[in-house]
Symmetry: none
Amino acid sequence: MLDKIRVVLVNTSHPGNIGGTARAMKNMGLSKLVLVQPEEFPSGDANARASGATDILENAVVVETLEEALTGCSLVLGTSARDRRIPWPLLDPRECAQKSLEHAELGGEVALVFGREYAGLTNEELQRCQYHVHIPANPEFSSLNLATAVQVLAYEVRMDWLARAGQPTKQEKLETTAMLDAVPVTADELERFYAHLEETLVQIAFLDPAKPRHLMARLRRLYGRAGISKLEMNILRGILTETQKAARGELSQRSTD
Amino acid sequence: MLDKIRVVLVNTSHPGNIGGTARAMKNMGLSKLVLVQPEEFPSGDANARASGATDILENAVVVETLEEALTGCSLVLGTSARDRRIPWPLLDPRECAQKSLEHAELGGEVALVFGREYAGLTNEELQRCQYHVHIPANPEFSSLNLATAVQVLAYEVRMDWLARAGQPTKQEKLETTAMLDAVPVTADELERFYAHLEETLVQIAFLDPAKPRHLMARLRRLYGRAGISKLEMNILRGILTETQKAARGELSQRSTD
């Protein structure tokens, strides 16, 4: 579905930004790059900044007009940093991603259009877009680097795509030991641990059964909150057992052997 | 609230990335930059890429160790591209932002830690982080440019911050004990606790310094995840001190008095 979403750069001045865009796109799983009258392309700077995403640059399509760049697209979203005189339907990057993927899911082609480094998109170009996308930046310092702006939109596209695909946004690969580590302890195991802990704290004279105050409650809250795994529970129980031996003086005997 | 969130770059090779980071931070309203042993700083390349965010660079703090960079922080999040043998609590950028702002709202200091351009963070560095943050990139091309990765996290921080703006902060009125219990410990307090814990585990012969395996890493992960308060830390340190007495046999002497 990501192959239905193209990135269009209009009149880019610095080839390094084209390379940075290619890298950001590939990082997020996008592949179609269209360049409208780039000042310098192909370019060594672009290749350097692409840092391995050279396939995106090699397959990039260079065209003369925005119109050509948008051929076949049924949804066009243009990035805009400025307030415009005619208010346009405005999306934030997250809404832009939702809109793009809803559209792609239905089989439509989508264009994300980015303007010049300093001047952005012209009013005429912006009027070719159904929606304007605004990255909510610091009003006092609002101009993002071009490749960085592409990264933000591409990131949101990927987040939305992963969510739709039912894929986790966090890739957790767990192996066997890791499994044991992922299984949380049950309430009764936790109770047995608290009993063992309390017994031990009395033995090392940290807890006075006559004046328990809120000590056990506080420890219950702490360990309860941590969401302890089976493996971690084994460790904690092991520590208690060794502490008890120490409290019984077994350790000091051993060390004087 | 954004002033409670610092960006920490570890061992950056290319000064251009420091500049790009400064720009991305300022774009998103972040201002505190800490550099751990940058290869070259200050630098003309950094200034050029900062593109006006020179105040961030001028106020950047350069330190020798990650530990110094984290002083005063009670929530540390480290970016990680790789799968680790010991699974760590993993967040995507959106969850990272939520966690960071929840924490900052309570008055805690937060560090977002980014590793080297090619090698990322070491295992040891990652174990100093309570959470790992993973940007869900294309598995076949997953390494983002450093400044671009900063942009993604800073963007999510800003999105969450904007959503919260206008909402009442959680920190209303807390009483004295409750205060102590609500204040999370800082990274350096946590480090001292781990050192004390390790020492104690060796003394009770639970930890063999010759074969430490992943024990301390697992315990760091557990306690890091719990988000320990100052009051709870006092309790845990008290338990360790009593355990050490027991291990030295002081307790068994006392009980035979």
